[in-house]
């Protein structure tokens, strides 16, 4: 990313409604985000928001560049599309807390 690019917004999904993301990973990633000193957004559960067509999803989708710590990218893109706020192809990075390690996700979220 060039110096003139805006820094990406960060969004963390807690997966609080059914908790398919391992507890240790979501706690670990949250702790690293909190340690970092940077601003970020966090939501209880993107699935719940998509189920109810939450308008905030539109706001997130319209705010690129964005990095999202949640789960499988296919799912995250599908959820946004289902809520009629598709994520653009470019400027979106999705980190997967179901399979990636705490370090991989937090480094992906916080890299310069």
């Amino acid at each position: 990313m060039s110096d003139s690019s805006p820094s990406p917004k960060l969004l963390y999904c807690r997966c609080a409604y059914a908790q398919v993301v391992p507890q240790s990973v979501k706690d670990g990633v949250l702790a690293k985000l909190c340690d970092s000193g940077t601003s970020f957004e966090s939501v209880a559960d993107l699935c719940e928001m998509a189920a109810h067509r939450d308008e905030r999803l539109k706001a997130f989708a319209n705010t690129t560049p964005i990095r999202i710590a949640a789960c499988f990218p296919r799912v995250v893109r599908g959820l946004f599309r289902q809520a009629e706020s598709p994520l653009p192809e470019d400027g979106v990075e999705i980190l997967n807390m179901r399979v990636q390690s705490i370090d991989e996700v937090s480094e992906g979220m916080l890299k310069a």
Binding site: S39, S42, H52, D54
Partner: protein, 287 residues
């Protein structure tokens, strides 16, 4: 039917100019506790990028403010109510109660009472064949104005039942809260494609060779079907089916128990089939 999210407020943990930052562990604890209760939380510092546009009508700003004095805040547009509270010296639980108190009795969707269980379509794989629409007896699927398959009534979906993912020949149906791949959204590989193409035995799910009968759409076939289906036989077949599905661990027993009566199944399956066929012909695809 989509019920809308109740969003009484958004919490902002403010650590920018004029506020003292929380310790890292305290910050993480407060965030986790609020998120686990269902709140959306913004952490705002002088660093990094916040400021997602949002349509929240009410913001609750928490911070360790100078002199333990929460500032008076006002939205210049007058559209958003902003309240600030000082949290100096408060433990996580106290902060959560403070937020709950500020919310009052305004309703909010909260974890623990409901599981967001519904299909999500991967449109990069979907070929719009409408098989999911024909299959689902609970009207979860519909067709958009431009003729595309759509999940329209996600609240009708039966919790923990991913059966329709098995009828999709393209492995395009995901259930985000499912444990196993590729239904959980994992990347689809060749082996998955081969395996998932072995479709659910719909006849056993519905307690009879209903699809063959639907293909043979003559009145005679329909009446034969109705006569054959004594309540006892249907029950027997469902039990057989339940045992099989339970052995597979694929469909929860409650779903099978909640299937409509055989006649109702027949009616719904025909309706869904008709909708799928109408959509396919409108799209110019042979049914």
């Amino acid at each position: 039917m989509i019920t809308h999210t109740a969003r009484p407020l958004r919490v902002v943990l403010y650590e920018g100019t004029g506020a003292i930052a929380l310790s890292a562990p305290a910050r993480a604890q407060v965030l986790a506790a609020l998120l686990d209760k269902g709140y959306a939380v913004t952490r705002a510092t002088a660093q990094g990028s916040t400021g997602f546009p949002h349509d929240d009508r009410s913001l609750l700003v928490l911070g360790q403010f100078q002199n333990q004095q929460a500032p008076d805040l006002e939205d210049a547009t007058g559209k958003v109510t902003i309240e600030a509270r000082d949290i100096t010296g408060l433990e996580t639980l106290d902060i959560v109660s403070l937020v709950e108190k500020a919310r009052g009795n305004k309703p909010m969707n909260q974890p623990g009472t409901w599981k967001p269980w519904f299909p999500v379509i991967d449109y990069s794989r979907c070929t719009n064949c409408m098989q999911c629409l024909s299959f689902c007896l609970f009207d979860v699927y519909g067709v958009s104005k431009d003729g595309k398959i759509q999940v329209q009534n996600n609240d009708n979906c039966k919790t923990n039942c991913p059966a329709c993912s098995r009828v999709c020949p393209e492995v395009a149906i995901m259930f985000p809260k499912h444990q196993a791949g590729p239904i959980n959204g994992e990347v689809v590989n060749e082996e998955d494609l081969r395996r998932e193409k072995m479709k659910v035995d719909i006849s056993s799910l519905l307690g009879g060779d209903i699809y063959a009968r639907l293909r043979d759409r003559s009145e005679a076939a329909k009446s034969r079907f109705s006569k054959e289906r004594s309540a006892d036989k249907a029950l027997e077949e469902r039990k057989k089916c339940l045992t099989k599905m339970a052995q597979d661990g694929f469909i929860p027993a409650e779903v099978l128990a909640s299937l409509p009566s055989p006649d109702e199944i027949m009616r719904k399956a025909e309706e869904a089939q008709a909708r799928a066929q109408a959509a396919l012909s409108a799209n110019g695809t042979p049914a």
